[in-house]
């Protein structure tokens, strides 16, 4: 059982590949559904190409910029939300925008910025911001309820309270927000790259996939899907590890 839990992810991934292989044999058409072997081989070939690393770095650069800007906005709004009136204002704004999908505001962004880098950046930030802000403000309320009597008792200033009490108490919630933000940014970035090609975002992974589709390189597309899933898995694992580093959070709280 102990070994199963340790290697459960590996087991599940193997199971998924076996299922894929069975489906591929059943379809029996490399164009419709190539086997995992063909996809991995195509990916290996692609990695050896010069364009691949250029595309990967380009995608990550965009992603990192949007992620950092988004998280900065999120933390600033959390700081402002320590004020009761501003918190209610942000809660109203969040409830308006959280249900509006990022691609629904795309026409507005296109009118303002055109098909450009700014549009993509705004879209990525929008896609991650609202749902995570909603979670972060709920966490802020929980933290405030928990620690307010003690903070009041110790008679410390609001600024000291935010940086020494609220911010550390919210750290687990902020890491979860960061993990979700990363996932949403990653998804939106790939969608933007696949739809707009290199018009908005530069030559990224999604653009490579679009080119493969144009050239009917189906195994290459599946190879890229494996790569995207692998990167998502690794980053998600890293955030989970980071969360376990907060020992006080994991010891009965």
């Amino acid at each position: 059982m102990k070994y199963y839990l340790k290697f459960s992810s590996l087991f599940h991934i193997t199971l998924l590949f076996v299922f894929w292989q069975v489906c591929s044999l059943w379809v029996n058409d490399e164009f419709l559904l190539p086997s995992p072997g063909s996809a991995i081989f195509a990916l290996k070939e692609k990695i050896n190409e010069g364009h691949f690393w250029h595309a990967l770095i380009s995608s990550f650069k965009n992603l990192l910029l949007a992620f950092l800007l988004g998280m900065t906005i999120l933390i600033c709004i959390c700081l402002l939300s320590t004020n009761k009136h501003l918190k209610e204002f942000f809660k109203t704004i969040i409830s308006i925008f959280v249900s509006l999908p990022s691609f629904a505001i795309l026409p507005v962004l296109l009118i303002i910025f055109g098909i450009s880098y700014k549009t993509m950046l705004a879209l990525l930030i929008y896609s991650m911001l609202w749902i995570n802000l909603s979670y972060a403000i709920a966490a802020l309320e929980q933290v405030s309820n928990r620690w307010n009597p003690h903070v009041k008792n110790l008679k410390i200033s609001k600024l000291v309270e935010f940086f020494y009490v609220v911010f550390p108490a919210m750290m687990p919630a902020l890491i979860i927000c960061a993990k979700n933000s990363w996932t949403l940014c990653w998804r939106t970035l790939l969608a933007v790259e696949v739809i707009f090609g290199n018009l908005a975002s530069g030559f990224g992974i999604g653009v490579m996939m679009t080119m493969d589709r144009v050239n009917f390189k189906v195994a290459d597309i599946w190879g890229m899907i494996i790569l995207i899933a692998f990167i998502s898995y690794v980053i998600s694992w890293a955030f989970d590890k980071l969360l376990t580093k907060i020992k006080w959070h994991n010891d009965g709280r």
């Binding site: 009597p149 003690h150 006080w248 010891d251 709280r253």
Partner: protein, 214 residues
């Protein structure tokens, strides 16, 4: 007479917490002198914690109160230390200077570098009480701070707390369910009932105290 009154840190006159605009019980009248200690005992739900909140000024009440000095509250909650700070940082954050002698007295010197989740409930509450003692507020309101601590440790901590509180000169109002704890902590014990209250000396017997609580 004036000298006598200036020595009183907490004076309540017919005070009762209000719930839905109605007094919870017959008004309480008591005086706690500077450096004195009063334990409050009563059955669950009678309103002991609300009485402390009324003294603190965080709950509406009937009657009047006179509080001579700043108040620090010790809550029932066993996690009053910030879990992301070491014991030492928790004490420093509470704006207190750590006195090694007091730490040694309570056997806490070796705990300074530990995180709160590494401590037992008794150790956590000891540090919380020490923090309250070392701050500069002269009145301490303690709302069953030792309720989750085992019987042996509870009496030991209560005894040590009483010694330090008297030495430092803190005025203490301590809510508890435990007769032995009340006798260790307080000079006087207030027995709170729905329709009356009595203040007795801590020298009175255990059974007699229990018989007076309805």
């Amino acid at each position: 007479m004036a000298k006598h009154l200036s020595n009183i840190d907490v004076a309540l006159q017919s005070l009762s917490p209000l719930v839905d605009g109605e007094p919870l019980y017959k008004g309480i009248t008591l005086k706690v002198p500077h450096g004195g200690s009063m334990a409050i005992m009563g059955v669950s739900g009678i309103g002991k914690s609300l009485l402390l909140k009324s003294i603190l000024g965080e709950w509406q009440h009937s009657g009047s109160k006179k509080v001579n000095g700043k108040i620090f509250m010790v809550f029932q909650d066993h996690d009053q230390l910030f879990p992301w700070m070491t014991v030492e940082k928790n004490l420093k954050f509470a704006l207190i200077k750590i006195n090694q002698q007091q730490l040694q007295f309570w056997g806490l010197g070796h705990l300074l570098k530990l995180m709160p989740h590494q401590l037992s409930v008794g150790q956590k509450q000891k540090i919380t009480l020490l923090r309250a003692l070392l701050r500069n507020e002269k009145i301490l309101l303690c709302d069953e701070p030792l309720s989750g601590v085992d019987n042996i440790s509870r009496i030991k901590i209560a005894k040590e707390f009483k010694f330090l509180a008297s030495k430092i000169g803190k005025t203490v109002i301590w809510v508890t369910h435990d007769v032995l704890e009340a006798k260790q902590i307080a000079d006087q014990i207030m027995l709170l009932n729905a329709d009356n209250f009595q203040i007795v000396k801590n020298t009175i017997g255990q059974n007699e105290i229990l018989s007076k609580i309805q």
